[in-house]
């Protein structure tokens, strides 16, 4: 039976002490972002979600929302700033 020393094992197969903490952090961040998204207007939320989370281009976002790209940019810039402000407020005054 082939054997290998523990030091040579792939890092992914090893239990990492910070995994549990990392998962909690992801859950917290997700909740925080979700709450911040709720503070945006419908248009701003749709633009931010499609562009920044779903990864669509500005043109694709405009087509999906049935509006002009310049309108998407307007919603996007306002939405990003509001979202950032909400996240930083929730975090207690910036990262």
């Amino acid at each position: 039976v082939p054997t290998a020393p523990l030091d040579d094992a792939a890092p992914a197969t090893l239990a990492r002490p910070g995994d549990q903490e990392s998962r909690l952090d992801v859950a917290d961040r997700t909740r925080l972002v979700r709450q911040a998204l709720r503070r945006l207007s419908d248009k701003e939320r749709e633009a931010v979600v499609l562009r920044d989370i779903e990864g669509l281009s500005t043109a694709q976002t405009a087509r999906s929302l049935g509006c002009l790209e310049v309108t998407v940019r307007s919603h996007l810039s306002r939405g990003r700033l509001k979202l950032q402000a909400a996240i930083e407020l929730a975090e207690g005054g910036g990262r």
């Binding site: 562009r51 500005t58 049935g66």
Partner: protein, 217 residues
Amino acid sequence: MSCGRRERSVALWISNDLPARRAARLEAHLASCNGCRALAERLRASREEFSALADAALDGETLGAVRREVLSRVRDGGLQAAVTKGRRAVRLRWAAATAVAILVIAFAGEVGFRRAKPADGVAAQAGRATASPAPGTVTQTPPTPSAPSVMTAEVPARVPALEAPPAPGTRSRHAQKPAAALALERVVAAEEQPPVIKLLTDDPDVVIYLVADETKG
């Protein structure tokens, strides 16, 4: 602190959504503004985090709601586009039918005008040959090779003796015909009938006709 009026530009600049000229101006500003540079870094970090979170838990409630909303709008947009397309097709058909109708009318008018034009030409010639004199005057027509020189004021279409003068206040039969037809009749009558002298008097109801009979000398 970042510059308030540039925050929205920074928010677009992090994803290359800013037009080239505005991006160049902003980059020049970022080189000298710590606040705007810090904002850009925070926004960029948040954006990267959002895309990482997309695969985690955001695709549950929030993404589902947005997807449903967007998909419903896309479906409505598709239906609206189909309706608009249908209306546009109907408008195009009407426009084509109107254009064809205008062409047909214009063609018919052109054909009618060409048919009427030769008669007008004859009428113009006849009009020059048979200018109406003033009442009480007698004019002399120039001599022609086929007809003897006679004193005449007008060559009537028919022998005027057979025609009753129009009653006062009523229009004669000639007056009801088109001018071109009258002129043509006069030209034909001038060639077929003997020369007639029509004497007009001051009284419009009294006209004296003299028929020249060449057979009796």
